[in-house]
């Protein structure tokens, strides 16, 4: 593995200052993505700024009903936190559907938001890849594009899916990402945090240079809501999604009054299906309606050579999740 410098930050401000020095720095939290990719020489840091000693490890219910999560709360801690289990079941389920016990113990909330794509052409260090080497082309579009490649939000520059389960649940819940940078602190709406690949797939998120995620604050849960995460994959554990859905619904007198739908495994970012949500409002759920909503969630999908099956799979993962939640 390449050599790099190491700085241990004691405060977010110190971390940002260390990061803003010369060279190519990265923040080190759990390291489950970063060190994997440094070993593969895909990420090439001159310096790691270790943020593990920052006091960003709290899950705090706020007075306005929201919940503020420190960037260093581990995936395991977040999934098992009583407030999350009770008020955001979909988030707890989504986190536990991802990775392995050991990885969830180490991976952090901020790191999960920042995780990189699993496209083999990105990870192999050789193939043309616009994320790794801007302008070199996308090998996946004409290559093997079955499992970790998207049908929604793709471009002629990149078709890799965003790999996170946690982020799909957060997209459905709604959240603000608080970041601290050289210019101060600001909030970014979660839906605006991850960028579509478009013509610049190497730009993956809305962070400005040196900005550090300090918190993710979840919107207050919808009153009387029920929620669930459904994940379909090649094997039943420790596998990235082929298609997944995070669904939150509120029912009143057998009619749906509020609905949130987000998809994973099919999009180049955690995919919120707003049109599909609208179609549910005021309706009594039956299989005809839920099938139509599933189709609407996948509207605009574009199939590549090996992943066309994800379009019906994405429809079904929404329809089935809605069916079970409204039963």
């Amino acid at each position: 593995m390449r050599t790099f410098d190491y700085t241990r930050a004691q405060s977010p401000a110190q971390a940002v200052n260390s990061h803003a020095a010369l060279g190519q720095p990265f923040y080190l939290a759990g390291g489950t993505t970063l060190l994997d990719l440094v070993k593969l020489d895909i990420m090439q840091p001159d310096r790691l700024v270790d943020i593990n000693h920052l006091t960003l490890k709290q899950v705090e219910p706020l007075a306005d009903g929201r919940v503020r999560i420190g960037a260093l709360v581990s995936n395991t801690q977040l999934a098992s936190h009583p407030v999350i289990r009770k008020r955001y079941a979909v988030l707890s389920q989504a986190i536990l559907a991802g990775a392995s016990t050991q990885l969830r113990n180490k991976a952090t909330t901020g790191g999960n938001v920042m995780q990189r794509v699993r496209c083999n052409y990105f990870r192999d260090g050789i193939s043309p890849c616009n994320k790794r080497q801007p302008g070199s082309g996308c090998s996946a579009i004409e290559g093997h594009n079955r499992s970790v490649h998207a049908v929604l939000g793709t471009s002629d520059q990149c078709i890799a899916t965003h790999p996170s389960d946690m982020c799909v649940a957060i997209a459905a819940i709604g959240a603000q990402v608080t970041v601290q940078g050289p210019e101060g602190v600001r909030d970014i709406a979660f839906g605006d945090f991850h960028l579509l690949p478009g013509q610049s797939p190497w730009l993956e998120h809305a962070l400005q240079p040196h900005e550090l995620i300090t918190h993710v604050t979840l919107d207050a849960p919808l009153a009387n809501s029920r929620s669930a995460y459904l994940k379909l994959r090649d094997r039943d554990s420790y596998q990235f999604a082929l298609a997944s859905s995070a669904v939150i619904v509120v029912m009143n007198d057998q009619r749906i009054t509020h609905a949130r739908i987000a998809l994973g495994g099919v999009g180049t970012k955690p995919w919120r299906a707003v049109e599909a949500e609208r179609a549910l409002i005021g309706q009594k759920p039956d299989m005809g309606l839920l099938t139509e909503v599933g189709e609407r969630a996948m509207q605009g999908a574009h199939a590549y050579e090996h992943n066309g099956f994800k379009i019906p799979l994405g429809q079904q993962v929404v329809t089935r999740n809605l069916r079970d939640l409204t039963a």
Partner: protein, 261 residues
Amino acid sequence: LNGWSAVLAKTAPKLSDYPSELGKDRGGAPLKANPMTKTKDLQAPDDSVTKGISVVTPSRRNFLKFGVSGIAAATVSTWIPESVVAAQAMPQVVDDIDSPKVGEQRIRLTVNGQVHTLNVPANAILLDVLRDRLQLTGTKKGCDHGQCGACTLLVNGVAINSCLSIALQHDGDSITTIEGLCDGDTLHPVQEAFWDHDAYQCGYCTSGQIMSAVAILNDPNIGTDDDSVKEAMSGNICRCGAYKNILAAIQSARGKMRGAV
């Protein structure tokens, strides 16, 4: 000699049985001890390596370190002085007293209850520091990318993949490896259960499986039914496919932890 060593001593081919190329590495250089594991021998005269004077006792550890050809060569041609092999068989773990060199930083790790002070470079991986510096080779390197679980150990009681940590991240941490589970000659209940249930074939993944199992059995957030255990263990891959027996072993150890790690 234990069973494995006896077999090795009888069957190890002589170097002269091979075509001469096999006595060399791929680049044509004569075989020599792996520089990563070589220990400086202050007592042996410098020419002892080439003269060849001693008979090397093969052991499982030496076999793993030097490989088949290494043992074969060592058995007959004595290219490693006996004292060197002895030092490698029972390595001395020496903490760093000197100030860290340029590019290094000092860390303090408590490993299986023993405190170590080490100077490590920033890119030293926790797994490698335990295996190469502290000679705790029970923790295995499998995929080296957090995918197989062979390197699983406990940091402050929590199971992690030690291949995806730099050692500097763990300054001040308390680490438990497979070597830290047994109490003298008394096996940890999970080790005992793996033995009783034949929960392995080749054994390479076993220390990682056991460390994950210990963490799972101590975690009140993980269900006690078979499906919950299987789900929680899915980060530990067993290529021999001993999963059924591993599951049986874990379930049988439940309730026998008696406050063990």
